[in-house]
């Protein structure tokens, strides 16, 4: 019984290895690293929340092939990215380029952080130095003074 369990779990462990996608032969480890980085950073347009590496869509397979072939021809990572953006637009990039249309995207969170910091500092400063309403103090004093002492 125990043996069957062990074999079963060993087989489970094998399953993901067999599900791997097409195996490309790379000339160098560097090219392989470039390829892996690209397919992880490029979006599959069919199943929009997956990257090329994780998608089993037909188009993703074609774009992986295209990526591999371009690298094999000696093209740089940047050239592959330009190729994809020319055809599919910025949407294909999981890491958008830093340019005029994406300034807000990149800088927005920091702007928001700055706003919150300014708000917080002002809030803390005013809390440390409570504002005294001179008019209210004068009125309170008047009421206290005018009140007849208790018998």
């Amino acid at each position: 019984m125990k043996v069957i369990f062990i074999v079963f779990f060993l087989l489970l462990w094998l399953a993901p290895a067999q599900a791997s996608i097409e195996a490309y032969q790379f000339e160098s480890a560097e090219m392989e690293a470039d390829y892996n980085q690209l397919v992880n950073e490029l979006r599959c347009l069919v199943c929009q929340n997956q990257n090329l590496a994780g998608s089993d869509a037909d188009l993703a397979r074609d774009l992986r092939r295209e990526t591999y072939e371009m690298l094999n021809e000696g093209k740089s990572q940047q050239q592959v990215i330009e190729f994809m953006v020319e055809r599919y637009g910025d949407f294909v990039l999981y890491r958008p380029q830093f340019k005029s249309t994406t300034y807000l995207l990149w800088l927005g969170p920091f702007l928001l952080l700055l706003c919150v910091l300014v708000f917080l500092i002002r809030r803390l400063l005013s809390a440390a130095k409570p504002e005294v309403n001179a008019e209210a103090v004068a009125r309170a004093k008047q009421i206290l003074d005018s009140k007849e002492p208790n018998k």
Binding site: V46, Q48, D58, L59, D62, E66, R87, Y88
Partner: protein, 174 residues
């Protein structure tokens, strides 16, 4: 009272923004190819594989490229609309038979009717990649100057033909 104004304005702005976002279809990715030169191809014709059709052959006329495949279910839905467009004889309607078996494609055309002036074979989908095709069917309008003027993603309906594609064609045809 005053301290509620700012959060309320923020809240309304946020609702407005999110409401606008809900109206958008995340499946529609704007093509960077609009108002760019149509990517060149020279491909074998489905009807006569010995002959080729090139984008350069179509310079000087307004034409429509409809990407279709026999395995594409929604292509059947738009087939009658494409046929209606072709029957008006306003523009040349070219089919791009995308990643298909030519035999299946021919059978499909025989079964449903062939609205295309000609269909070209993009067997491995490379021309599709050049044109930024990511879901079949897609429809492009190309001007006489060889520039892509409009791209429709997904099946063309009678409404989208009337409201989106026809105005573009009318403007191009003058």
């Amino acid at each position: 009272m005053n301290r509620f104004v700012l959060p309320l304005v923020g809240f309304i702005l946020m609702i407005g923004l999110l409401g606008y976002g809900l109206q958008l279809d995340p499946k529609l990715v704007p093509s960077p190819l609009i108002d760019k030169k149509a990517p060149a191809f020279s491909l074998a014709m489905l009807e006569q594989p010995s002959r080729q059709l090139a984008t350069s052959d179509l310079i000087g006329q307004v034409w429509v490229l409809n990407v279709w495949a026999s395995w594409c279910v929604s292509c059947r839905a738009e087939h009658e609309v494409i046929t209606a467009l072709a029957n008006r004889n306003l523009v040349t309607v070219v089919g791009l038979n995308y990643k298909d078996e030519p035999a299946d494609a021919e059978r499909w055309l025989k079964q449903f009717g062939n609205p295309y002036a000609t269909s070209v074979i993009d067997r491995d989908g490379r021309v599709g990649i050049d044109w930024g095709v990511y879901g079949v069917p897609e429809t492009f309008v190309i001007g006489a100057d060889g520039m892509i003027k409009y791209k429709h993603i997904g099946p063309v309906t009678h409404e989208s033909l009337q409201q989106k594609i026809m105005p573009v064609l009318k403007e191009l045809l003058g």
